[in-house]
Symmetry: C2
Subunit: 219 residues, 2 copies
């Protein structure tokens, strides 16, 4: 039997301006344990900004989302624009602010913002092909923006402001603990709060392991 192929959509490398590194690595670990082929991808665009992760201040430099995401993927990564839903059996989007700064502008504009076109194209195509999507941490905000016409059921943990912004989009929000998942059976979307709640990596890992297994079970 051919291996299942799961896309992992990255958004840079670091919790404050890119993909949350722990979440991305744990996603890769649990996918590898389940014997699936992983296809990492990211958009070839400048990051919204670069944050010094020691001071949390903005740095006066520019970095590229695909190039920095390649650090997490150990160089094995593709330009998002070349990846189609037809190649994938499922898609998982780790969190980190990059998921709401580089894949959409939710972090800057809230529910009135836009999803980056190739991200919307891939998410739309996955849904239209009845293929499951997993979203971690703040990534459900971008998935929710992309799919606002589908009234998706998602979790981003328990942050009231973010929940309110998602509800304004028509998202049905479920409060979850860090090691739990929310399942939208109709749209085949699985989400987990990860570091929206944390704080322990072991609990984040448990939620991600559940998410990966649930996503794979819906293929």
């Amino acid at each position: 039997m051919e291996k299942k192929r799961v896309g992992v959509l990255l958004s840079g490398c670091g919790v404050f301006d890119g993909s949350e590194i722990h979440e991305a690595v744990l996603t890769l670990l649990y996918l590898n344990r389940e014997g699936v082929e992983t296809i990492c991808m990211a958009p070839d665009i400048p990051q919204a900004h670069v944050i010094n992760h020691l001071t949390q201040e903005e740095m006066s430099e520019s970095r590229n989302v695909l190039v920095e995401s390649a650090r997490i993927a150990r160089g094995e990564i593709r330009d998002l624009k070349d990846v189609t839903a037809a190649e994938l059996d499922a898609l998982i989007v780790p969190g980190g602010f990059g998921a709401a700064k580089n894949l959409s502008d939710f972090a800057f504009k809230g529910p009135g913002g836009d999803v980056y076109p190739d991200v919307k194209r891939l998410i739309d195509d996955m849904l239209a092909s009845n293929k499951p999507i997993g979203a971690l941490c703040i990534a459900p905000a971008t998935v929710g923006m992309a799919l606002k016409d589908k009234s998706p059921e998602l979790t981003i943990g328990n942050d009231e402001n973010t929940i309110g912004a998602l509800q304004a989009l028509g998202v049905k929000h479920t409060v979850c603990a860090v090691d739990e998942i929310a399942i939208d059976v109709k749209n085949k979307i699985v989400s987990t709060p990860a570091y929206m709640l944390g704080p322990d990596i072991k609990h984040v890992a448990n939620g991600i392991e559940k998410l990966v297994k649930q996503v794979l079970s819906m293929i």
Copy 2:
């Protein structure tokens, strides 16, 4: 009972010019699962160079080891110069080329190179205090350089050139599989090949889990 405190010495953020991200994250995961307190640290120095992880070419920019390591540590990191062996019960050094480019210059000069002074100071003090050290991937090269007078027993997997360079330092090398560990009982040093062998993250994870448990058992 007070929590055990384990230092994790980082060297940047990315396999080709910093800490290997998967190895660092898995080290943090297994330490957290064992209920220990983790203290991430890195030297406040410029990286030896910056590598584009998509093309593997050198980039014409400068990054700081402590600032980039903070990405892996989610901002919770200390300047190596302020950390003493007296604060720690054990020390673990993840791999990635940064461990042999920024913590020492082994990657550029081989066994004739030098260990960065604060790295040598901390490793020497751990050994003098009879506290265990764990080293992953290529990090045993830097640990071996620091402790060459102690004839340490280490593994970096099975790469003959690297093994030859370590033997030139007086290191006793043990060939190990990716999910195995080498134990130097006398010097309390534990090592595992990690991504010196890879290629699967699940096997790298198994080796790191064993290393973490062995290191903690030697406290």
